[in-house]
Amino acid sequence: MTKRQPPHEVSALPITACSVVTACGVGTRALHEGLLGTEHRLRIPSLFDLDFDTMAGEVSEPLPDLADGLHQYSTRNTRLTLAAIDSPGDGLRDAVNQAVERYGAARTGVVLGTSTSGMYETEQAYRHRQRHGHLPSDYVFERQHAWIALADYVRCELGLKGPRYVISTACSSGSRAIAAAQRLICTGLCDAVLAGGVDSLCRLTLNGFNSLDLVAKDPCTPLDRNRDGISIGEGVGLMLIERPQPEWQHAVHLLGCGESSDAHHMTAPHPEGIGAIIAMQQSFEQAGLKPEMIDYVNLHATGTRQNDAVEMAAMAEVFGPEVQCGGTKGLTGHTLGAAGAVEAAICWMALTQSFLPGTCGLRHVDPAFSRQVITTPRLNTPVNMVMNNSFGFGGNNASMILGRQGD
């Protein structure tokens, strides 16, 4: 009997384009400006009424309409995605077109994370049914509610023919989509993958998190001694990841990913952060790096009492007290299924723009935490290696390391 083939080596992969949509606006430039300041972009949601007080990271720009032939896919989720694909200055569509030209459409894949897909439209469809006795004629369940519709839409929009799939592991979805893209390239199945996450505001998630007493009334204040919950946001983070090429050797690379489970509770993190520790350690192992080589960690840092405390305990276990870290959900809100990808994009920006984001909303660091929490942004700082953490319901954890090779 023949033995198993040795597994494919997981190598560093260049990130050749990146785009975002957040409450700061469309594109990485708008988010960069937000990250350089200290003012949050949260507001009272305008999309629907709520019977409790909260602030949300709602995208206020008008969103583009989908092309005529694709209108059946039209949801807030896909329109946010189209805004990211065409965001001025980010060149994502051009980069994807170049990848298709270089490798072929069948060698270019799409892996996206979402926890909402078209839930906002489904809620409206139920309301319509209550009033009129039937679902709206333009509501297409398979193309609006179904999670896979997001990847199908992007594949049609960009003319891709490679593998496509959607991952939905709650708040780690975006990060886990990036990890899956890495596997598609390292096994040789794809030469380029558009990966990331998209989530849009809807009544279900806002009311759902409120039912768990996890939503802050005022703008959230992650890592603060007075933090009292999350502010929910919406957004898109997309990155084009390619197989290594000499011309990309100086680009920011995806260096390693780690994925794990808490095996503990559906909504509460493991008290000692065991799953978070495993995910971080695995990303070091895969990247062939040591904790002291990391310049900055973009924490999951949602702003709930328990999540932040457990994550900081896990950080102390993995890094000791000496790593610079912070959270950015006070600026954009917690973009849930998009968060891992939006914050991977923030890490990419820290590396390409040589700065470390502050922790928006943070006034007094919880004294139980490391003193290395970054409060206000640090500009003109050399940044070579960064880590991004995302943790979700079901004890679903993901960590990744981005950086420059051989620096």
């Binding site: 596997r183 009311n207 079901g394």
Partner: protein
């Protein structure tokens, strides 16, 4: 097909399980050992979980027991649309503005609910993947499991599952609750090996399930499960998706 054109070895199948609670359907499709098995779930969880999670956990439990390698392995959970009954209930509550929502219903509506409960029940801290494929579940799940094994995982539990679609939402979907689970490893396997799919001009055994499968993606792998249950050594061709009967994989049973 000539020897040189043989497709590459794809995956070892070290264990399998199925949950098809509708006995009539089980009889019609020749599938056995397919009852619910919630022995790994805590009693409180057992009462609260959805049909989707219950069939998924049942098939997973049976596949792991059959493989005899414990439960500490990565898993890929793939369903058409996930916890659609719970989502439907929440949408009704939201429409009626009957707040607050039930916190349990809310966290049981996330797509990775089955994966999360499985991790808790099995004690596995390995990664739990949760994917949504609508009409393309089994093949996408198989792809992700293959990717994980090819990049270093020793074993991956693949669970493909669906629950009944709420009729008010999609009346034309006549889904029966069903889950299949496979414990997969690097090929070749000791017991059974699946070869990479190929396109043939000779449609394979599809269990006459075409119509059922069109209605319910989780049943796509039933022909494969039946062959494994029959356990006749040798090789046979199975359709990985009876909607595409020309695309078949060769299954070698030791």
């Amino acid at each position: 097909m000539t020897e040189s054109a043989r497709p590459p070895l794809l995956l070892a199948i070290d264990g399998f399980g199925v949950c098809l609670p509708d006995q009539d359907l089980a009889t019609r499709t020749g599938i056995r050992d397919c009852e619910m098995d919630l022995s790994l779930l805590a009693p409180l969880v057992r009462r609260r979980t959805s049909q989707a999670t219950r069939v998924a956990v049942s098939a997973a439990t049976r596949a792991c027991r059959e493989a005899g390698q414990g439960t500490d392995m990565a898993a890929v959970f793939v369903s058409a649309i996930g916890e659609i009954q719970t989502t439907d209930k929440l949408c009704e509550v939201i429409t009626a503005a009957d707040f607050p929502l039930s916190p349990t219903l809310f966290h049981n509506s996330v797509h990775n609910t089955a994966a999360g409960y499985w991790s808790i029940a099995s004690g596995s801290k390995a990664p739990m993947q949760a994917m949504a494929g609508l009409n393309d579940c089994f093949r996408l799940g198989l792809l992700e499991a293959w990717l994980q094994i090819e990049t270093g995982a020793d074993r991956v539990l693949l669970v493909c599952y669906d629950e009944t679609m709420p009729s008010a939402l999609q009346p034309e979907y006549n889904w029966q609750p069903c889950a299949i689970a496979l414990v997969l490893g690097a090929a070749p396997g000791q017991r059974a090996t699946l070869l990479a799919p190929v396109i043939t001009n000779k449609p394979a055994d599809s269990l006459c399930l075409e119509q059922l499968v069109k209605e319910n993606q989780a049943m796509v792998a039933l022909p494969l499960i039946r062959r494994l249950q029959e356990g006749v050594s040798g090789s046979c061709q199975v359709a990985l998706d009876p909607c595409f009967p020309d695309t078949v994989a060769e299954l070698q049973i030791s």
